[in-house]
């Protein structure tokens, strides 16, 4: 079959879709990856075939201009049912209005959607897999009759908030606006999708937001309760378009417990701020009887006043090669780092300070597999004592091991491919094409 994969142009959001793309390709399916031109290098570096659409979305300018305000609106918002009164109507309305205006309508702007739809009309995909904020994929699928699904590579905070928001809005005003095919007038995301679909004569329905199903790479313990259909899939680490080279020192077993310190890659190449006080982090580690591997970019290294003896500074090392040798990881909270540590069974100290990173870290801590230390609360003593606990209390490693087993119990991308073939055949609107690939569904 023909699978069109799409993600807006940000490595952190695209990387999670690469292993499934490989699996589809290896099973004999045609795969195209559509994004704005800025992602072309990352797509081709992953060995995939790029279809540049639209123009680069100016995400950095938005983050620079209004990012702080958008993030501050989301501070202290939790899906945790033990934190009552969080998802107030005012919060959810602002969340919908701000994210649609500043983010969704920006990374899926008209030229991007138009060119993606034009490509889909010409190439006629059977299935469109879309990164969960790249609603252009849903639009292209609905316009062409392709099956379509969200491809999740981080815990889905969006959908429970969306559902809470719609429940609070209630039905639209009687008569015209609440009708089938029309979004509630106060539903910014629905309104935007309504007029975007309207450009191609297609009515709006909530499926443009939910997809027909989701492929969820997050272990079950991190999935919010949902009635929506989902296909679980094991997260396979992919580091992104950086050299994946195993250095000499990594080929020898460590002589002391090894700890990885990383601030991820996104802050190096975008305007998304990295709030972690990296100099404090290394000071906290100084003198401990451990080997520290700190993967820091040049700008992060420039913030260091002193590099302790037990720290090895490297620019980059493949995390899935490094983490099996580590007893713990201290990181910025990003989704890719978090997921990789999770499937490698390594206890984590996550210094997340952005909305979803906080939520992941809190949940991780609740499950006993790590500790949350928001970056603005980092002190030498606070971080040091937490790291010592992680290394000395076996419960952390045991809990991390349980999550690793949970992750490994999910089917691999290769095993998910036949499921996608079957679901695509069920959901495609138009005449059947030879779907190809393997044909034995083995996961339900």
């Amino acid at each position: 079959m023909r699978v069109l994969l799409t993600s807006f142009a940000l490595d952190a959001h695209f990387n999670g879709s690469v292993p499934l793309a490989w699996a589809l390709r290896a099973a004999g399916h045609e795969v195209r990856v559509a994004s704005q031109p800025a992602l072309t290098g990352s797509i081709t570096a992953a060995g995939l075939t790029a279809v540049p659409v639209g123009t680069d979305p100016g995400l950095d300018a938005m983050v620079k201009g209004v990012g702080d305000s958008v993030l501050s609106h989301h501070a202290d918002q939790s899906l945790d049912p033990d934190t009552p009164g969080q998802l107030t109507p005012a919060f959810l309305k602002g969340w919908d209005a701000m994210l649609t205006a500043t983010f969704f309508a920006l990374v899926n702007d008209d030229p991007m959607v138009d060119e993606l739809v034009a490509f889909a009309r010409q190439w006629k995909p059977d299935l469109v897999l879309w990164e969960p904020f790249t609603f252009a994929g849903a639009v292209a699928a609905k316009v062409t009759g392709a099956a379509h699904a969200r491809l999740l590579s981080f815990p889905d905070m969006f959908m429970p908030m969306r559902q809470a928001f719609l429940a609070q809005l209630g039905p639209g005003p009687a008569g015209e606006d609440g009708e089938q095919g029309r979004a509630h007038p106060e539903d910014s995301l629905g309104q935007w999708l309504q007029w975007t679909l309207g450009r191609y004569g297609v009515p709006f329905d909530e499926e443009a937001v939910t997809g027909q199903w989701s492929v969820d790479q997050v272990p079950r313990s991190f999935r919010p309760p949902s009635d929506l259909p989902a296909v679980g899939m094991r997260y396979i680490p992919y580091n992104g378009p950086v050299p994946a080279v195993v250095p000499d020192w990594l080929r020898l077993p460590p002589t002391r417990p090894r700890v990885c310190v990383t601030l991820g890659l996104t802050a190096r190449t975008s305007e998304f701020p990295n709030a972690v006080p990296v100099d404090l982090v290394l000071k906290a580690i100084e003198g401990l009887d451990i080997d520290v591997v700190a993967t820091l970019g040049a700008e992060e290294r420039a913030l260091l006043t002193h590099v302790p003896d037990n720290v090895r500074l490297v620019d980059h090392v493949p995390l899935h090669a490094l983490l099996p040798t580590c007893a713990a990881i201290v990181h910025h909270g990003g989704a890719g780092t978090w997921s990789t540590a999770l499937v490698e069974g390594v206890p984590q100290i996550a210094m997340g300070w952005i909305w979803d990173a906080i939520e992941r870290a809190r949940r991780q801590q609740a499950l006993g597999a790590g500790l949350h230390l928001p970056s603005h609360e980092v002190t030498v003593e606070g971080l040091r004592s937490r790291l010592v606990r992680l290394l000395e209390e076996p419960s952390f490693t045991a809990a991390a091991g349980r999550l690793r087993s949970e992750a490994e119990s999910e089917p691999t991308p290769a095993e998910v491919v036949p499921v996608l073939e079957r679901l695509t055949a069920q959901h495609r609107a138009h005449g059947r094409r030879r779907l190809g690939g393997t044909s034995t569904p083995c996961v339900s």
């Binding site: 305000s69 501050s72 609106h73 309305k93 015209e176 309104q191 935007w192």
Partner: protein, 448 residues
């Protein structure tokens, strides 16, 4: 779907300050929708830091009176909001701004439609004219307004209003007598009497009354839509209504040219051009009606919330004028007046550059404790002369006498015919209505 916003080919726009007659602007749903969405997003974003003006424009759950107080009690009389606008809620500064001819409803250096495209949106969005309302004459120059005011004076001034008192009383009494035991103040009283009065003023023939009335309902959001993005469907309806009422009034103007009468349009034609008559007629529908209905709503709401004042009015019907003046102070029908600096200015000690937006919060200034004794107290016997600032903009003052007459007649009539009037529940206000605080529903019961 595309929509033609300006397709004018027939009506003469004769003055240099008028919207360019030939300007063609087409916006798809995506273009207009995205613009409204982005502006709305900005109001939310700027509100996250607690900016009381941004929160006022957000018009969500925050109490507008509490926000007005914060705007007034800001450290300096005039301050710059995160939205970029310079804002004042102090009486003295507000009065200066409203009287300053260098502050206008439009940009001095932007001919034609007051349209701002968010080209450099994330760093410098222009939120002063959310949509161009030039076709409804709501973004007109001071010179245009001065000409319209003078030409309309014989029909809209105080003396003319007095002359209409008898016919107003008849309409109000008929409407009041037709009310049931439970009714909606806005839908069953305030709007019908305001529309009827406007239709009579313009001489709208009976056959066109329904059309005029429908257009007035859609136009009711106009003053809000200038500062607060409305949903796409509401905006489309507004723009269609503007074109419809232009067509309707344009037809009336042509008829009056051939056969003058004693209506407002004929009055304006005697001193001005057909374009002037069109402008005044469209403004009557786009601003006059909603201001009038809003003033009636606010007056009744305040009186019923203060039973002692309602009782006083029953003892002395002549207090109706005081009740309306006090409503204009306490709960003005137009809360925000937005202006653009024509040149670099110094206002209240602040340097305000040319082209900057300056906003007067009339509701805040009207409760300035430096000017009004017990400003939070609603008192219909309050001595006149403590100048409140309601309806003192060029487009709002045009209908000051008209709205006052209708509101005085309304409170007098309702007090007389429905002495036991009481709210069935609270007032429901429209969402996204920071300027007008427009009433969606206000159910009242009457047990006469």
């Amino acid at each position: 779907m595309t929509h033609t916003e300006t397709d004018e080919t027939t009506t003469a726009e004769t003055t240099a300050d008028s919207p360019a007659a030939t300007e063609q602007v087409q916006q798809t749903d995506s273009e207009l929708g995205r613009h409204l969405l982005t502006a709305r997003g900005f109001h939310w974003i700027y509100g996250t830091g607690g900016d009381p003006y941004a929160l006022t424009l957000r018009a969500e759950s925050d109490d507008p009176v509490a926000l007005a107080r914060r705007i007034r009690e800001s450290e300096t009389p005039l301050w710059q909001s995160a939205t970029g606008a310079w804002v004042t809620g102090r009486h003295a500064t507000a009065a200066d701004v409203l009287a300053d001819p260098r502050l206008s409803l439009r940009h001095a250096d932007l001919p034609g439609l007051q349209r701002h495209v968010f080209s450099d949106a994330w760093s410098n969005p222009k939120l002063c004219h959310i949509i161009p309302l030039d076709r409804a004459f709501l973004h007109a120059s001071g010179a245009d307004h001065e000409r319209w005011r003078r030409a309309a004076e014989p029909a809209l001034g105080e003396a003319a209003a007095d002359g209409r008192r008898k016919s107003a009383e008849r309409v109000h009494q008929e409407t009041a007598d037709g009310l049931g035991a439970s009714f909606d103040l806005m839908a069953d009283y305030s709007r019908p009497v305001a529309v009827e009065a406007a239709a009579a003023l313009l001489g709208v023939p009976d056959a066109q009354r329904d059309r005029f009335s429908r257009a007035c309902v859609a136009l009711g959001v106009a003053l809000d839509a200038a500062l607060c993005p409305q949903p796409l469907v509401v905006t489309r309806r507004l723009v269609e209504a503007i074109e419809d009422v232009r067509d309707l009034v344009g037809g009336l103007v042509t008829a009056r040219q051939a056969e003058p009468g004693d209506d407002l349009l004929s009055t304006v034609l005697r001193a001005g051009s057909p374009a002037d008559a069109l402008a005044v007629g469209v403004l009557t529908a786009a601003a006059g009606v909603e201001i009038t209905a809003g003033l009636i709503n606010n007056a009744v709401e305040a009186l019923l919330a203060h039973p002692r004042q309602w009782a006083l009015l029953g003892e002395d019907a002549e207090l109706a004028a005081g009740a309306v003046e006090e409503t204009l102070r306490y709960a003005p029908p137009v809360r925000l007046e937005s202006r653009i600096a024509a040149e670099d200015l110094t206002l209240a000690g602040q340097d305000v550059p040319a082209d900057a937006q300056v906003v007067v919060h009339v509701g805040a200034a009207n409760r300035d404790p430096g000017v009004f004794l017990s400003p939070e107290h609603f008192d219909i016997t309050r001595p006149v002369g403590q100048g409140h600032l309601a309806l003192s903009g060029p487009h709002t003052s045009l209908f000051g006498a008209f709205a006052r007459l209708q509101a005085e007649t309304a409170v007098r009539t309702l007090r007389e015919r429905h002495p036991r009037l009481a709210p069935a529940d609270g007032v429901q206000r429209r969402m996204r209505s920071p300027v007008l605080g427009g009433v969606l529903r206000f159910t009242l019961t009457s047990s006469t």
